[in-house]
Amino acid sequence: MESVGYYILGVIVTIIVAFMVGMTYMGLSRKITARVQNRKGPPFYQNFIDAFKLASKETAIHHGFMHHAGPAFLMVASIMSVLIIPVLNDGKWFPNLNFDGDLIFLLYIMVFGPLGMALGAGQTGNPNSAIGVTRGLSQMVGFEIPWVMALVALMMQYQTTSLVDLMAVQQTTGWLMFSSPFAFLAAVLAMLGMFRYSPFDIVGAPTELASGPVSENGGKYLFTMMSSGSIFAFAKLTLYVDLFMGGADNLIELLIKTFTIYLIPMLYGMVSPRYRTEQAIRYFWGWPLFFGFLALVHAMVF
Amino acid sequence: MDTTELIRIGVYGTSILLILIGLYAVLTKRSLIKIIIGLSIIDGGIHLLLIGIGYIKDGTAPIFSPGSENAVARMVDPVPQALVLTAIVIGFGVTAVALSLVIRLYRHHNTLKIDEIKNLKW
């Protein structure tokens, strides 16, 4: 039993690492997108500059309590999820809160952020925010189903709801990605919606909704959201790696694996136009759901 | 078949015929008065039936008078006669009420057709 101070230190380190990695990945994504579009693109550290600028920008107005609380909720969700998801296999570097990293807890804490954010967006009174929020929540209902099916398939196959257990399983049986391919497929397709890259960027929908829920937020609010988004991205990627790719033994391995995963929504997004909301929902209730069922069947049979 | 039987069948037959005639009137005639007449005919038929069951050939009045004590066997049964008297009285009363109702109905509806008097239904 280490001291509380050690834990708090670990927590802070985890958050900082998550923030850095997430920001870098987002910058890389911009860079890669630019290269795909035959542009030079911004430097990979562009997002850090943007974040710093936003933090330094004045915010002279607010719309009330929830306007402050919304981004804070978002931050709670992302930090909690990054704390609960085991970053590395042995857990020495990042001694965080992962109490057997319960998956159902994770599922709920992960949707907590968008809801809090939506509340913050609601108080600004901007109609675009509300439209964006409804789209986001609708889409969430869409992609959560295949995602949960994939998780349930894994959980039932290994009779545990603990992320740590699932990681331990992979130490012996190999990556779940190969032993449960359908679950992986369903989860990956659900991830497309989770990352909200095109074609599922219906929430922000630039030029359509004026960036949706964040349209009233600049400066410190946007900074908080941005950092939360990067931490959250890191958390989600780590979760995928932990679930399907056997986790990581050191940071380098983690970075490689997470970036590989990250490429999927990124590259998919570069070449796709935007869906409408109902199209997005129907998309998730099409093939991903089918794969989810297959995953369940697979888990039941084997 | 002796005459007693014949008479009995005749009486029964007549009474049943009367009942049927009365029923026919009640069921098909549209005038209230005719319906009441039909009811009375039914009553009459039944009274006849009632009398008929007490019939004995060459019967005497059921009066115990000195000197004819041995005629008990030939006496007609007194009970149906008592009953029929009562029934006639009752029938009379009913008919009287019915006719008074008909007067009321005629005043109110200005008609005696039964199928036009159906304000109360369903």
Binding site: A34, Q37, N38, R39, F52, S56, K57, T207, L222 | -
Partner: protein, 182 residues
């Protein structure tokens, strides 16, 4: 915590550096100049490499880009948008029309001189200015920001009555502008 002048300077330098390299543009596509923005942003000229990027709403934007002529009808809206932007904020006048009316110099319903209504930091000349010119304009703005000279917002704050007065001359008192949003 750090109150002395030198550290303030250092902080300002870092802030200005960050601002310089992260310019979020709210392009107010009022006139034909808007057609020049897409080439500026896309593959060929790729303004994003300079950190220039579109912003969706005034709350998030640093630069208000007035592309071309401004009609009297849109004027109050543009000013409203500008007032909603958060400090630090800059204005770029784009095309000749914003300087002197350009080919609409004698139009009855356009604004000839944008400077009267908004504190323009950088003008980009031309009708239309080509993307190269636009990039040059952004470069100039970055230079001004780095030097700390892009203080149009401060000017607007100081001479608020002047700008408001000019606005009133155009739109009259029929339309109440809400209070200024710092």
């Amino acid at each position: 915590m750090i109150n002395d002048k030198n550290s303030q300077k250092i902080a300002d330098f870092i802030k200005n550096w960050a601002r310089k390299h992260s310019i979020w543009v709210l392009a107010y596509g009022t006139g034909c100049g808007a057609i020049e923005i897409p080439p500026t942003m896309t593959s060929r000229y790729d303004a994003e490499r300079l950190g220039v990027r579109g912003a969706a709403t005034p709350r998030q934007a640093d630069v208000l880009l007035i592309t071309g002529y401004l009609t009297t009808k849109t004027l109050k809206r543009v000013i409203r948008v500008y007032e909603q932007m958060q400090d630090p904020k800059y204005v770029i006048g784009f095309g000749s029309c914003t300087i002197n009316g350009g080919m609409y110099y004698d139009s009855y319903n356009t604004i000839k001189v944008l400077d009267k209504y908004l504190p323009v930091d950088v003008y980009i000349n031309g009708c239309m200015p080509r993307p190269e010119a636009v990039l040059a304009g952004f470069g100039k703005l970055q230079q001004l920001i780095a030097e700390g000279k892009a203080n149009g917002a401060q000017k607007y704050k100081d001479d608020h009555e002047y700008y408001r007065g000019n606005l009133r001359k155009i739109i009259g008192n029929k339309y109440e502008m809400p209070l200024y949003n710092w």
